[in-house]
């Protein structure tokens, strides 16, 4: 059966009111950067310049941290939890009201399909604010002592793959616990964070409680190393996570790190193959594979390898790659030229090391940054594509014979963020879940997220958990 052709169904851009230029959000106001430097943010699907954004230098970071400190002392840190809760509810409601606009903005700036931004990212963002709003007035019941206290100023650095969702994961628990924040969004995806700054204004959040400093690595470094930041939360690459761990050595700063992964998605012969194939596709091609917990290593039981492979290739042939704002699109644009180059480089290495590459046949747009959904077969555990995080729509396929071998191969990596298991046998699911060294195990599903559920890694995938009661712990000092 051939691929269904859908008529284009583009979401309207008119709902988004983009300014040509954005300042930094400090102490409740948009302000110009001290040294006046600006950078451009582009749409990765069209290379169109969307807006100019300020690059925060050390003085700007200073100013933002000072505003956060003042707000912590004067308003937020001593505000009754029930009032903090109401502010968080307000924010959650405004996010819902502006959900469609935020989804379009996210899709434009990030390159992700509007379907995912609309159905996954933004509803989860609102859900996180609702969830933590409910904790703000119940902290003494969270199990961290009778009188848990916030740390003070939290410096938060987030990645470009889920710009608004990562913001919510960081800001919602921080504010619920009574901290104030300075957040640096990724340089390629600052726009929804700036829209969030407007939402804070709309909610009448006291000035300085949330500060947004846009910029690149140097801005993040200035924030992380700032002497008056009490707690650091970072989501991003393992290399940067290690650098942050080094930079706080010998200080009093608390740190949580959500870093890279190389998740095994393990398919047993008794798995419902069609569902498993859907799960494989969701596991690696969701958000163009720009997911730290992506199921980037497929482990298939040898007896069903041919069947799974054939089914997977057929399914991949039906994926719509193209305009992220088209509601039919399954796979959008790669976020940046740098990321595209990295994906290409590692894929080339995959071939050089002897693995066989297959990409779904699809026409890629002329402009923008694109990479077709791709699988590698004949992959061994020693191959770089089986060991390193590619962070793109590239799947390495390996095989196994016994559950013990699957565990051995799955755990044979310095990472430990997530894993998937596909089997109809309940006792095997629990056995596998017990043996897998990963912070999240999805059985007969993949890439599920919920604000009530702790998420985070083992080993070099970082430390700390986000989400749920566990997610509060990072923002509370125990007594």
């Amino acid at each position: 059966m051939g691929k269904f052709e859908y008529a284009p169904a583009p979401e309207s851009r008119s709902i988004v009111d983009l300014r040509s230029s954005y300042g930094l959000f400090v102490d409740g106001e948009f302000v110009e950067p001290k040294d006046g430097r600006m950078f451009k943010t582009v749409s990765p699907s069209s290379e169109e310049v969307l807006a100019e954004v300020a690059e925060a230098g050390p003085q700007d970071v200073d100013r933002a941290v000072a505003a956060a400190r003042t707000a912590f002392k004067k308003t937020w840190g001593s505000m009754p939890g029930r009032d903090r809760a109401k502010y968080l509810y307000r924010i959650a409601r405004i996010i819902q009201e502006r959900g469609r606009e935020l989804a379009v903005l996210e899709s434009l700036d990030n390159g992700k399909p509007i379907r995912e931004a609309r159905d996954v990212d933004i509803p989860l963002v609102a859900a996180h604010f609702f969830y933590y709003a409910g904790w703000a007035d119940k902290l003494e019941y969270a199990g961290f002592g009778a009188d848990p206290k916030p740390h003070g100023v939290a410096g938060q650095v987030i990645p470009w793959n889920f710009p608004m969702l990562m913001l919510a994961w960081k800001i919602a628990p921080a504010l619920a616990a009574g901290n104030t924040v300075v957040l640096k969004p990724a340089e390629t995806t600052p726009l929804t964070a700036l829209a969030f700054a407007e939402i804070c204004q709309q909610a009448d959040l006291p000035p300085g409680v949330v500060n947004i400093v846009t910029g690149a690595g140097a801005t993040g470094q200035a924030l992380v190393t700032h002497a008056d930041v009490d707690k650091i939360a970072f989501t991003g690459s393992t290399d940067v996570g290690k650098a942050i761990a080094r930079s706080v050595a010998g200080t009093k700063k608390r740190v949580t790190l959500e870093l890279g992964g190389k998740a095994a998605n393990i398919v047993f012969e008794d798995a419902p193959i069609d569902q498993a194939v859907e799960g494989i596709v969701n596991g690696i091609f969701f958000n163009q594979g720009h997911v730290c917990c992506a199921g980037s290593r497929l482990l298939v039981q040898e007896s069903v390898y041919e069947e799974v492979l054939a089914s997977l290739k057929r399914r991949m042939g039906t994926l719509n790659v193209g305009d992220p704002l088209d509601k039919n699109t399954d796979i959008g644009a790669i976020n940046s030229p740098q990321q595209l180059a990295k994906i290409r480089m590692l894929s080339d290495v995959g071939e050089q090391e002897g693995a066989e590459r297959w990409s779904a046949p699809c026409d890629l747009p002329e402009r923008g940054y694109w990479f077709p959904p791709t699988i590698f077969t004949g992959v061994s555990q020693a191959h770089r594509i089986a060991r390193e995080e590619i962070f793109g729509p590239v799947l390495s396929i390996l095989t196994f014979r016994t559950p013990a071998e699957a565990i051995e191969k799955a755990n044979n990596t310095p990472f430990g963020l997530s894993a998937g298991v596909w089997t109809e046998k309940g006792s095997r699911i629990l056995w596998m879940a017990d043996k897998l060294r990963a912070g999240v195990v999805w059985a007969n599903t993949f890439n599920r997220f919920d604000p009530t559920s702790p998420f985070g890694g083992y080993k070099e995938s970082g430390y700390g958990r986000e989400g749920g009661r566990h997610g509060l712990e990072a923002y509370l000092a125990k007594h």
Binding site: A245, G250, N444, P454, K478
Partner: protein, 292 residues
Amino acid sequence: MPSTDNRLAVRKTYKLYVGGAFPRSESGRSYVVNDARGAFLANAALASRKDARDAVVAARKAWPGWTGKTAYNRGQVVYRIAEMLEGRRSQFVDEVAAGEGSSRAKAERSVDEAIDRLVWYAGWADKIGQVVGSTNPVAGPYFDFSVPESTGVVAVVAPQDSSLLGLISVVAPAIVTGNTVVVLAAEERPLPAITLGEVLATSDLPGGVVNILTGRVAEVAPWLAGHMDVNAIDLVGVADAELGKELELAAAENLKRVLRVPDKAPDWSADPGIGRLTAYLETKTVWHPIGI
């Protein structure tokens, strides 16, 4: 311990405790342990880099079996350690009093507290999962639950002042939660730690779950902090802040979980809370669809 009557004492050679055995340091070195007044007490093994690495290998080897035991079973073993410690109470009192220079009464209180603390931690083995684990009310047709699991191999620089109570207070929470441990004993007061090894060897604790090194913190700790197969490190016994920073820097290389050098030595007689239990735990969240 020096003999008090006319009988010629059999002098003991103090050795390491690694993988359930009592090796000398592979370096062949030893160092003099004095009592609090400076009088000779014993020669202890001066552990080397190789000893530290051997201890990590032993701890890693023991980890799957130990973490795979039921919590009930781990609790039973830790209770058993308390029993064996109780049986050798007077020996520990002698060693603690001599090493710490405390009165006999104070040493007795400290040893009793150490035994009681083991009993307290033993009981946590099958309860901590209920306290910090959860089922999560997700918005969708899924069941998901979060369970705590051991982090793996934990390296510990034991408290320098409290040679038994402090030691028990940092080792017990690590092992009851399923981790295996390499502990570097208090540098100047290692005798209770060495004797603890003898207790552990006869208390049903599988070999390698606790490995005890004696030696110089500044020499051995960097190898533990930089070891790629160590998952967590406890720097409570590091007295020098600058060394503590170096150890943290080394630990960053594989993102070890770090318990930092404390501002001041903890009060080991106070209620320890569950902080040291959760410090060595990871949280795993498992999802499954709900349907018929």
